[in-house]
Amino acid sequence: MQASKPCIATLIAVLSPALLFGGTISGKVTYTGTPAKQKVIDMSKEPSCAKQHATPVMTEGVVTGPNNALANVVVYISAGGDDPNPPAQAVTFTQKGCQYGPHVLAMHTGQELDVVNADQTSHNIHPLAKVNREWNKSQPPGTPPLKDKWDQPEVIEVKCNIHPWMHGWFVVLKTNHYSVSGENGSFTLPNLPPGKYTITAWHEPDGKQTQDVTITGNETKTVDFSFALKPY
């Protein structure tokens, strides 16, 4: 917002989208119980990656943060917020230090996915899709990003066969309203028109919870999720 004197028209023009699509659903994802212990990854068979890590690298099956925060949870609108159109912008999945970044990548059906190899070693990208087509492509270092897209909504496990510890997820959705929780567990779904929504929180490999929320104007509704984790 400009500090100088905007004319009323500009003010209305700037504010009206917020007035029309101002609703926000946000909150935190936390866990109860004991999360499964993560293991140290042995990268000794791939020295070019091992040397990129000063401290031991852990598996990412469960990533938690302070105050029982749960990361890598995809919170999205599962009803009431479908959008037939993917964004024009691509999403990027990067292989660096023989790890996938991000570990969980959410995207819309039909949205371009760019897979980047930022390592000195070849990787193969093997999305184990069951609803979409499963494919498997080699990506040597220094080659351009692989581009693809998914037609159907699905939670797809991704792995590299050459480096068996590499494990990630593509969460392909019909909506553009999604948010992946970080290590503070928080998520936010802004720009929601008034309406009744069902939001779903997904945690790997198959944890799912839903809640119903109604947005009437441009308020912010707080919705929290809590996953009961087991140590095994």
């Binding site: 791939e46 020295p47 087509r133 494919w135 498997n136 050459i162």
Partner: protein, 305 residues
């Protein structure tokens, strides 16, 4: 008398717990059918001028195929528990041996050829009992198991340029590619299937799987998907779907792919082949590839970082 009574009790308890254990075990076993008949889809197949019809293959499938592949085509026939690799699950419509790109459906001809050729190093036999028409009908029947065949067309077959002559330069370039593309990570520097990543490989159903061992055969040359140079070309340019073997179509130019094929033939050390003859004539040693100035230097296999 008392001892006999307590022995009788022990006997009863043993039988009851054994029955419970067996019953529990039987409940965990896969459901191998036969299942109640499902509504039949009609599919057709086209191989050259041959047209196959699924309804004509039903009894052949039940007699010859269902024992491994299951009457629902999901790879859970009653033999499947004893087999490694597992029989193909047709409901997933993922096939190893194709002329089409990774992630796409095979041509009808690819399935037709697989039935006739069998799959080496597996329990899939060479089905030389079938006529061409029977095989075409079976291909159509296989297509009834997955809805993918309704929704998608098979991929386009990959372009395969004419094979250049086998020369030591071609073999040398092939070795350079084998090293640069890190095939040795799984296949090992001599292609024996003993690379650093080989021991942890699993297929898409999480079953352990081993990479192809080029040095294993004697004078034969069968691969999973055929035995000719053209078949090898297709294997790494289309990937072996459902397995760790990826497609290299995005990273190898088709002309260069033939050089890799020629090198791979020299890894089949026991086989009499034109490639091994050329290698022998060159003194048995593959010279280092002389790259064009723009490319990175070749490194020896096994020493890559």
């Amino acid at each position: 008398m008392k001892i006999l009574r307590s022995m009788q009790w022990l006997g009863v308890m043993a039988v009851v717990s054994l029955a419970a254990a067996v019953g529990g075990w039987a409940q965990d076993a896969p459901d191998v059918g036969p299942h109640p008949p499902a509504p039949e889809k009609k599919m057709t197949s086209h191989i050259g001028d041959l047209v196959g019809h699924s309804e004509n293959a039903k009894s052949d499938y039940r007699r010859y195929c269902a024992g491994c592949h299951g009457d629902l085509g999901d790879g859970n026939g009653e033999n499947a528990v004893w087999l490694d690799p597992k029989p193909r699950d047709f409901t997933a419509a993922i096939f190893k041996c194709r002329s089409t790109l990774t992630g796409t459906l095979p041509l009808d001809e690819d399935l037709f050829n697989t039935i006739g050729r069998g799959l080496t190093n597996s329990n899939m036999p060479i089905w030389n009992v079938f006529s061409r028409q029977q095989k075409a009908d079976l291909v159509a029947y296989i297509k009834t198991f997955s809805p993918r065949w309704d929704k998608e067309k098979p991929g386009d077959p990959i372009g395969i340029p004419a094979e250049p002559p086998v020369t030591i330069e071609s073999i040398s370039h092939g070795k350079y590619l084998f090293t640069k593309l890190e095939c040795w990570k799984c296949h090992g520097p001599q292609g024996k299937g003993d690379g650093p990543s080989a021991a942890t490989l699993t297929d898409s159903k999480d079953q352990p799987i081993r990479p192809y061992n080029f040095a294993a055969g004697q004078d034969d040359s069968r691969f999973k998907c055929g035995s000719t140079n053209r078949d090898i070309f297709k294997i790494f340019m289309t990937g072996v779907d459902g397995t760790p073997m990826p497609s290299f179509a995005d990273v190898i130019k088709p002309a260069d792919a033939w050089d890799l094929v020629h090198f791979l033939r020299t890894l089949q050390v026991h086989r009499h082949s034109p490639e091994n003859e050329v290698l022998k004539a060159a003194g048995g040693k593959i010279p280092d590839y002389v790259e064009k100035p723009a490319e990175a230097p070749a490194s020896q296999p096994g020493g890559g970082n």
